[in-house]
């Protein structure tokens, strides 16, 4: 018994970072839930949390890839604002159909990413400088495009990107019964069903991976940790989805966010392209001498970032129902902070998608909670800054203690 306790403790210390992040998120949520008298986890506020943070999370996915490859992109806030402005001008002033606008905007973001990536990858100009330039250029271009004014509102079909909800597929009779049971005015069966499916999926993949690891003799998480972690995550998921179903169901952005997160988690962890990006971030010369086309990968990481920044710009504009010259201002800092809170290393080569997403939620919950409490923007900035420093300090402290 003694030895198992010791090894459990050892395991925890070695994986402090991963568990620490999850624990931090839960602690922050519990804290704000208590001090806001339960406002934080009201269905409407949970929905808001997703709507407010979706664009940060979407960009954090791209930023993680960029940072893992050993670069940084300071321009994403400006690009996001510029693409939103571009879409607004197309729809409102030029009367271009929404679908065409969306495609054109995504293409624009991709091209911007390609342009910046070209200088970083093929001319070896430090990404800090290229994207600092990009930050100024696109900030200026949005001002020029909008002539300093806000442009809006948008047609309903465009707003749906952000503020729409996935329609329920279950018959009204069933959902009414569920509404009565849960004591709420309405109940979205699809939302609850998705929650159950997601939990089943998490448990299934978790067990499958454990079976594989056991088969190949790979050291795995102790059983107790696996069970605890799975129970906590599943419980939280079911709780959130239940809350959503008693409100308006699953927001469209939540779907895009989850789908993108799953895609990028898979891409970074399970594919050759992901592996190669980690390798080049870890040692670009060794990667190159292993036949990896490092320039092309860096170029692609920026193209990808541009595309995601454009998508974020569309979602942001759709949510505000207007494009303003200030849209996306200083957002790059939140995105970068999310990735570093999530455990990525400044020097490249390490960091996980799920970490970046949790990091973004930590920032998001704090923003939201502090706003509910009516804490001024001045204190909010100070607190967020300190949290970022604390997270990275925790990382470094752990490493030096282990090393």
């Amino acid at each position: 018994m003694d030895t198992t306790n010791k090894s459990l403790g050892d395991y925890f210390r070695h994986h402090m970072r991963e568990y620490g992040l999850l624990i931090a998120l839960i602690a922050i949520m519990v804290f704000f839930q208590v001090v806001t008298d339960g406002t934080l986890l009201k269905p409407v506020n949970i929905t808001n949390l997703f709507l407010q943070n979706s664009y940060i999370i979407i960009m954090a996915l791209g930023m993680l890839v960029v940072i893992v490859s050993g670069n940084i992109d300071l321009s994403v806030g400006s690009v996001m604002g510029f693409v939103g402005a571009f879409a607004a001008v197309m729809i409102v002033e030029w009367q271009v159909p929404v679908s065409v606008t969306i495609l054109a905007s995504l293409l624009l973001g991709t091209l911007i990413g390609a342009a910046q990536g070209y200088f970083v990858a093929y001319w070896k100009i430090p990404s800090f400088i290229v994207t600092l330039a990009g930050m100024l250029v696109f900030r200026g271009l949005s001002l020029w495009l909008l002539e300093g004014q806000s442009v809006g509102p948008f047609p309903k079909s465009f707003q749906l990107i952000s503020t729409g909800f996935v329609p329920d597929i279950f018959p009204a009779g069933l959902t009414d019964a569920l509404a009565a049971m849960s004591g709420s005015r309405n109940f979205n069966g699809l939302s609850m069903a998705l929650g159950v499916v997601a939990v089943a999926f998490i448990i299934w993949t978790g067990l499958r991976d454990r079976a594989h690891n056991a088969k190949y003799g790979i050291e795995d998480e102790p059983q107790a940790f696996f069970v605890a972690r799975t129970v906590i995550i599943s419980g939280a998921l079911l709780f959130v989805m239940f809350k959503l179903s008693t409100f308006r169901g699953v927001p469209n952005v939540l779907v895009s966010m989850v789908v993108l997160t799953v895609i990028y988690a898979f891409l970074t962890a399970n594919t050759t392209i992901g592996r190669r990006i980690y390798a080049l971030g870890g040692n670009v010369k060794a990667a190159k001498l292993s036949g990896i086309k490092t320039e092309r990968l860096i170029f692609l990481s920026f193209v990808n970032m541009g595309l995601l920044a454009a998508l974020a710009g569309l979602i942001f504009a759709a949510r505000l129902n207007t494009a303003t010259p200030k849209a996306g201002f200083a957002v790059e800092l939140d995105v970068i902070a999310a990735v570093f809170i999530g455990g990525a290393s400044m020097s490249g080569g390490s960091g996980k998608v799920i970490g970046a997403v949790v990091g973004a939620f930590i920032m998001g919950v704090m923003n939201n909670g502090m706003s509910i409490l009516g804490i001024g923007i001045d204190y909010q900035q100070v607190i967020k800054g300190l949290v970022l420093l604390a997270a990275v300090f925790f990382d470094v402290y752990n490493k030096t203690k282990q090393g």
């Binding site: 790979i218 980690y278 190159k288 036949g291 390490s350």
Partner: protein, 506 residues
Amino acid sequence: MTPLLEMRSITKTFPGVKALDQVNLQVMEGEIHAICGENGAGKSTLMKVLSGVYPAGSYEGEIHYDGQLAQFRDITDSEHRGIIIIHQELALVPLLSIAENLFLGNERAKNGVINWRETFARTEGLLKKVGLKEAPSTLIEKLGVGKQQLVEIAKALSKEVRLLILDEPTAALSEADSQALLDLMLELKTQGVTQIIISHKLNEVRRVADTVTVIRDGTSVSTTTAASGNITEDRIVRDMVGRDMSDRYPPRPRNPGDMLLEVSDWNVWHPEQAERQVISDISFNVRKGEVVGIAGLMGSGRTELAMSIFGRSYGRNISGRVRLKGQEIDVSRIDRAIANGLAYVTEDRKSLGLVLDETIRTNITLANLPAVSRSGVINENQETTIAEGYRGALNIRTPSVFQKVVNLSGGNQQKVVLSKWLFAEPEVLILDEPTRGIDVGAKFEIYGIINDLAAQGKGVLMISSEMPELLGMCDRIYVMNEGEFVGELTAEDASQERIMSLIVTE
């Protein structure tokens, strides 16, 4: 003679490992004392105990220095007493001048204002002492490794050194620079500087050392003095590995097969200096099952030749033809060179060969990911199986393939690099200094791997600065000097003298 330093029954334990076990070391005033041992034998740990990196109290045993019990708290403490270590990885600031580096942290200054006149004057004096003819204002980055090593020694001399410790000082030096350094050591000895040299190069040890202490598995095995006449390479090797190594190069049947790789009229220009030709009109070939060596001094262009062939990873305006089994192949990019059957094992495994923060498994599959993936999705289980296979086959000493390579010893790291290139299934392997900085036991294993490759019908092109290694391993040796091949010798005709004379006379 009296002992300057006596380390008695030093024992140092780390969690789970006894790194040093009752080690004794006695260094006489004014002698050059060599410490030999395989990597991981405990040489560096012993030097860290001596210099206070591991402070008094963190180890057992006693250190007596200059007649007193010494209890160093940290490295500055031991430096004050005149003990200075020059590490394998040089600790100079490349963008500062020689003078600035010499007095870094020890500036000739008053109230924080540097006295440049004194700094430069003293620098010139120190440079003269170590025989380095460079202006004190020369930037470190303009100097080669050999000269940087001399600057390190000058820096030690600036601190009133009594006991100078050199950790593998010639590991990165050319033959000529090594000789100059050894001469300097002998010169410093006449000036009364006691020195400890840690080295793998036994011929150098024999040349300068008055006494040799061999450490194996954390214990001191033997101490031999030159006066006794017993310092021989065979004896040192035997003490180091704990067994007789009558044959340092495992035997291999020599029967080269069909023509495999032919390189003809190869020309390469320097990547930055457009008018400078680095490789001129080189042609050579490697047959199936043949191990071909390239001998030459550092800077003769061996690495540049190899890298320019391997996907033009070095140089500009490259011209020439590469044929494999009679067919001309495209080696214009690294991925194409790999696809066409070439592999290049770099001389600099840490910065060019490995992603140090990644696991053994990740490193092994890196050059051939498609082989463990389908539609771009990696099959991690298959990957693990493959990595485990190489761990067993090449005897990589590690509890699991999920260890980060940064934690492995030099020899095991080199085996990981070799595994990576074996998994890429090349026809021809270019091995650039495949045994640099690794211990005798691991060297022997790597020679075995090379022989296995030859037996499988692969071609091996082996670049090495250690002539005995080339003579022991190769079927044929090309001799290279200043970017040209100046001779070709068969195994029977080759000798160190013939190779040197070819280099010198051309």
